[in-house]
Amino acid sequence: MAQSFSNRTGIRRRRRKAIAVGLLFTAPWTVGFLLFKAYPIIMSFYYSLTEYNLFSSPEWVGLDNYIQLFADEKFYKSLYNTIYLVVFGLLPHLAFALAMALLLNMNVKGQSLYRTIYFLPTLVPAVAASLLWLWLLNAKYGLVNDLLSMIGIVGPNWLVDPDWTKPAIILMGFWGTGTTTVMYVAALQDVPRSLYEAAEIDGAGSWRKFWSITLPSISPVTLFLIIIGLIGTFQFFTEGLIFAEAAQSVGGPENSLLFYAIYLYQVAFSFLKMGYASAMAWMLFLVVMALTLIVYKTSARWVYYGGEK
């Protein structure tokens, strides 16, 4: 393309057109955001700088909520509980889902049946599923310890022992990895077979193929799952609350099930301290944002987009 003086306006015009087209395409999100999300988000930030009981006008307190937060032992406890889930739950769940997806992708007979079986648990409503697992994890008459005893292991007191309550949650989490597996299956099926064929010609074994072709090809989805997993796990709420209820308390035995979002909810709706809860929310935002950025930055090294410009 011939460059000349007048191309400067041409570039500007093209840029403006690009912005217009870009905004048009992203409008389905931006409009919704501006209509329904922007105001509440801004308000919640404002509330974090106030004392607010949801009914009377918020009272300005500046950074007091945040300062108080740093002195709050339950802030640290709930953060610890939640990070525990991320470290010991998220990654094992992802690995498991990938393993399942790989198996499912192997063109075995009965594929659709298996896929449905793995997906089935995610269809059960959270209340029923949590109540079901409370039952399964009962130390005495629950199925889990029953099965463990069949192979000679004495199962722990899943729901009462503070050291085992989070592992119980993580165990239940494996049951719900169906959606992740489905996404991995879709990703695996998108990997061009030609790549595998080429590798086979070069004499690559299955492990090599997995490491050099499969993993990189599905890396965009892996990135997605890690980030979404981070965001979701940090906001873990429903099942944790039902499990804690089994111990007849909000935080479970020795607050081992006091997850961040649960504590936040209690502060906001039980103690009516929406200002403090909002500060908690924004702290969480910062933590998750920081972690996500770290993951994102490192992603350049391990994520391969087919559409690399």
Binding site: N53, N138, K140, L159, I231, L241, Q248, S249, S270
Partner: protein, 460 residues
């Protein structure tokens, strides 16, 4: 709604259970123990007083009001019947009842500007909500219509007061004041009468506890924190309190500390780990495998909804007043109440009609009907003795609860803006004591430290 794969946005019975668990663990306490005034038992007294005193100035046109309650379809038969009866017996007000409206929904709608006209919730929500200005004070209406608050069980009436003002009416109440026990377990251990004082309770427990060959407990006599750590019940039994007249929080006064020491003693006597193991093997409460029914546990704190059928005189479960501290016979028949309260949101569109409905709910006839359908405890004193309830065989196991509801030692936890934080702190610290991680005095001192600033702020 935004969704993540791990986020199931379900707060069904959660909010109910959350506030329920908090409510169940708490109840009013301290404060005036008024003498229950003699009230006629024909039932019409308070209602007719109200209608006499009412100067109706509004024109008689039909008004529809919305009434939200927390009950799901499973439990809402009785309240629907009450609403229907109200709508039938007069033309002016039509009440539209809506169930499944838990605390989350109520709170959001009220603060979001779309309140119902009248609502029913667990009493401990009134404290924070009233303080925040969401609830209408009822004192004016009560005075204007000469509603006789003395006709309401004092322990229940106190629960709906915040800073001395009345913010709701206790419609029904749950009560814990009894000891329920497995008769066969007693027989097998050679025990003929239920324990009278707390020392005996401990002794009985030792006799009723059995071990198996490997030294694990197969049966236990009593667990002070079954089914939950009850941070209201125990101080009440010991004659403690939580706030003094000057607004100082007193979780660490000697009676409260003694009550926690007593519980900790159980854990020391039988062993923290051993109890933990035993607890993990307990059958599910409220099913045929309930520990008290199977004898796994011989005794427990009894609420009016526990074993309504099995506690008949010839049934397997015995019932007795909960033992009192040996040196405090004056605390006999202590107990605490946990009511469901009806209130009017401040920004309700039809507060006057809402108040009419509330008065109706507090009338003896309505209370009697409701209790007949649901087997709870009425909060209106004349209803406790009403012939319709006392002669109804189907309610025979409720009769002694009706009697107990008259006990002067019936009380509860104080309602306030910081009630939920107070209860939470008590729960956490008590757990530490039971597990041997702290002394009762230290733990309660910690609670006082934490909560006093909140109480100071509340005094304004």
């Amino acid at each position: 709604m935004e969704k993540f794969k791990k986020r199931r946005i379900l707060i069904p019975a959660l909010a109910v259970m959350l506030t329920g668990a908090l409510a169940a663990g708490c109840s009013g306490g301290g404060g005036a123990k008024t003498e229950t005034g003699a009230a006629p038992s024909d039932g019409k007294a308070s209602e007719s007083k109200a209608t006499e005193g009412k100067a109706e100035e509004k024109p008689k046109e039909k008004v529809e009001i919305t009434f939200w309650h927390v009950w799901s379809e499973k439990d809402s038969g009785p309240i629907n019947a009450a609403v229907e009866a109200f709508n039938k017996k007069q033309d002016r007000i039509v009440v539209k009842a809506l169930g499944n409206q838990d605390a989350t929904k109520q709170l959001t709608a009220i603060s979001g500007g779309n309140p119902p006209d009248v609502a029913l919730t667990y009493w401990n929500n009134l404290g924070p909500w009233a303080d925040a200005g969401a609830v209408l004070e009822l004192d004016d209406k009560i005075a204007r219509d000469k509603f006789d608050t003395a006709s309401v069980v004092p322990a229940a009436m106190e629960r709906t007061k915040v800073n001395g003002k009345i913010y709701g009416m206790p419609f029904t109440m749950s009560m814990a004041s009894t000891l329920m026990y497995n008769k066969k377990s007693f027989q097998d251990a050679g025990l003929t009468t239920p324990p009278a004082d707390l020392d005996e309770l401990l002794e009985y427990s030792k006799k009723l506890t059995k071990k198996d060959a490997s030294g694990n407990y197969t049966n236990m006599g009593f667990l002070p924190d079954y089914p939950w750590i009850d941070n209201v019940f125990w101080p009440v039994m010991f004659g403690g309190g939580w706030v003094d007249a000057n607004g100082k929080v007193t979780p660490n006064r000697k009676e409260n500390v003694a009550s926690i020491d007593y519980q900790a003693n159980f854990y020391k006597t039988f062993g923290v780990d051993a109890i933990g193991k035993f607890k993990s093997g307990l059958g599910k409460r409220g099913t045929p495998q309930d520990p008290l029914l199977t004898g796994q546990l011989a005794m427990m704190i009894g609420w009016e909804y526990n074993f309504p059928d099995e506690r008949k005189p010839d049934g397997p479960i015995g019932i007795a007043p909960f033992p009192h501290p040996k040196d405090r016979p004056d605390l006999k028949n202590s107990g605490f109440v946990s009511p469901r309260a009806v209130f009017i949101p401040k920004k309700a569109q039809h507060p006057d009609e809402a108040w009419e409905f509330i008065k109706y709910l507090m009338s003896v006839d309505t209370q009697v009907e409701f209790v007949k359908n649901s087997k709870v405890i009425p909060t209106v004193i004349p209803a406790l003795d009403d012939a319709r309830l006392r002669k109804d065989e189907a309610l025979s196991t409720m009769w002694d609860f009706f009697e107990r509801a008259k006990s002067p030692n019936l009380t509860g936890f104080p309602n306030s803006v910081y009630i939920n934080e107070y209860l939470q702190a008590l729960s956490e610290e008590t757990e530490k004591v039971l597990k041997g991680q702290s002394t009762a005095q230290d733990a309660m001192n910690k609670v006082a430290e934490k909560i006093q600033p909140l109480a100071d702020k509340a005094k304004k």
